[in-house]
Amino acid sequence: MDYQPYDDKTQLDRQIERYPLSFTRNPSAPLIQRPLTLTERTGPVGLERELGAGPLDLSRACVEGPSRPRAVGQLISVFGRVTDEDGSPIPNAIVELWQANSAGRYIHEMDKTDSPLDPNFTGQGRLLTGPEGEFQFYSVKPGAYPVLESGWWWRPPHIHFSIFGVSWMDRYVTQIFFPGEPLNETDLLLNAVHERDARNRLIFEYDSTSMGAVNAISYRRDFVLRGHRQTPALE
């Protein structure tokens, strides 16, 4: 595979006005160009058993039991495909997911809001992509929540994705937003992607063609991980 550096125009800015940590946590020296050798072209693969990646339904508590009640909130079905830049599917990719519950609360000691936890919702899990790079999971739509220390910034509903592709170069982490949310207009992260087409690739598409389950709204998001197949050198 051939890996080109990410094109800044299609990515978030590294430094974002009104987001102070983006100024104190990014290097001042220019990033150093290096050759891509075996160590960068390889990466963590085949860890699905150890990491416990499999079919995923976040809308029910992860504890197994005779009755697994649903979490409170709007039931959603999220699906899509993981491919490389050539559109070739990436099968057996581990996808880690985490999100707030429908009240905008995470199970995490850093979450200092007083929104309620839901005993039937953990908001975290891992799945594995299928032979065509496809994935699907159920969940409930996450709520918005405030960034308390900012004094003004409400994070729009979003789901976090962390994907293990085929190498160290395509290891990928992001957040995906919901279409039509008023808070999308003011979110510092979403709006740190300037090109509209690129920004839209951080937003789910409402899928009106499938119902997923009887009462689940379907959302689609495809992911393109960095990497082209190498073209053979000309003779």
Binding site: D13, S28, A29, I32, L38, H108, Q124, S162, T174
Partner: protein, 191 residues
Amino acid sequence: MLPSPFCTIGPYFPYDFVDGLEDLTHFNGIAAQGRHISISGRLLEQGGKPTRNSILEIWQPDANGIFRHPLDPCHAQADPGFRGWGRARTDAQGNYGFRTVLPGSYSENGCARCPHINVMILAIGVTRRLVTTLFFADSPESVRDPVLDCVPEASRARLFPRLVSTSGAAAGEYHFDFILRGGEETPFFLD
């Protein structure tokens, strides 16, 4: 097709996705071959402030210099007791710690690679991962390596973890502070 935009990991990455993965010395119930070492230190931002609640991931070859990955021509001989990949989080003081094996050297295009561990850093305020590589050698100044050679000479020594002790219980303990900005800033690679 263009790669999807990267975004910050945020403050709420589940601890369940991290805890236990900072130890690479056992895999599938088998102990890893080679010399078991620890690497620990702090993640610091501008002004030497600790960067808490951040995630570090590492990727490295086993003690024999083999990657657990099909692209490595020797991967069938990879150590079955070594995962190759690990993840740790920083505490309120910015401390992290890994247990792993001293990576082996290997030959690539006729040149011997200096033993190394790849690192990526994910944190609030870091919209795109930061990547660097740590190198291990007795005398850093004499090392030739195709990746290390790209780093300005004056800052190469910053990529070598310090061996805390060579004897006793502390043998194999390495110390490394990642400095994201300012002062003896850690060199990071274009990604």
